[in-house]
């Protein structure tokens, strides 16, 4: 009898934030990812503290092999994307928040430590960008989820 090979699809989407402490966009990245996890797509998102790629055990390095990963970076240095590619595997999508904010025409100085109204608004907008990428993976059938 011929064996039937069943390929299991992941049931989660990985979203990895750079969380850069030096930059306001790092704070926006961290908070936007948490918003998606807690408010917009709860139960669908898994994440990882980025420095665990170095500090953790080999399990963390399986991250991008187990789930499709969206890297959310505060700036063009792209630590979340590059660290994932270096330690774990390819990313599905990448967001550069500084570039996005520039495209949105925002040139104000932003705070990394005391997010005000503008930073909150930008965090929401970035969260919606992440949601679009998550939903695209679901719509493409890359992730196994209950029908929305």
């Amino acid at each position: 009898m011929k064996e039937v090979e069943i390929e299991a699809r992941p049931t989660k989407v990985g979203v990895l934030s750079c969380s850069g402490e030096s930059e306001a966009e790092g704070t926006i990245a961290r908070n936007a990812v948490r918003l998606v996890m807690e408010k917009y797509r709860p139960g669908l998102i898994v994440t990882l503290c980025l420095p665990l790629y170095l500090a953790g055990d080999s399990g963390e390095r399986e991250f991008a092999k187990k789930v499709p990963v969206i890297a959310v970076d505060g700036c063009e240095k792209a630590c979340a994307r590059l660290a994932t590619e270096k330690y774990s595997g390819e990313v599905e999508s990448w967001i550069d928040i500084r570039d996005l904010i520039r495209q949105w025409g925002v040139n104000d100085e932003l705070s990394r430590s005391h997010p005000g109204e503008l930073e909150q608004e930008l965090t929401e907008r970035v969260a919606q960008e992440i949601v679009k990428l998550v939903d695209r993976l679901v719509d493409e059938g890359r992730v196994e989820v209950e029908p929305r």
């Binding site: 980025l50 420095p51 500090a55 630590c79």
Partner: protein
Amino acid sequence: MGEARVYVIPCSGIGKATASVGRDATFQVIEDLRPDTTDTLCLSLLTMGDEEAVAKVIGNKVITIEGCAKDCARKNVEASGTSPDISHRVHEFLKEHRDLKPETVLDTGEGGRKLAEVLAEKVAQEVDELAGSQNRPGE
């Protein structure tokens, strides 16, 4: 390299409210309490082995603040070829101040904000000691 600084580096944790407390405490130290003698850097740059970030931790005193027992900040500094001068875990402070329990990652609440203040005050004192020794030759 520029003027010597004490680098205060939190863990970049995204899963625990204690990591948010460490991040808040760091900002209090570098922006409010000791802006002239401290700085921070993106820990993710150390994870990537960024040369400029590595040079900063090797050439200066370092205090790490951890949100959990995995000690990511300390281990990433060590992977850069040096050790932090002082390493804290937020949980140590929480044990001493059980009434200051942080709430969530996005909003640590009143308790979490006060816990960050306690931690920041402690780190600021340590910065003064380290900054003093940093400016004395041979130490």
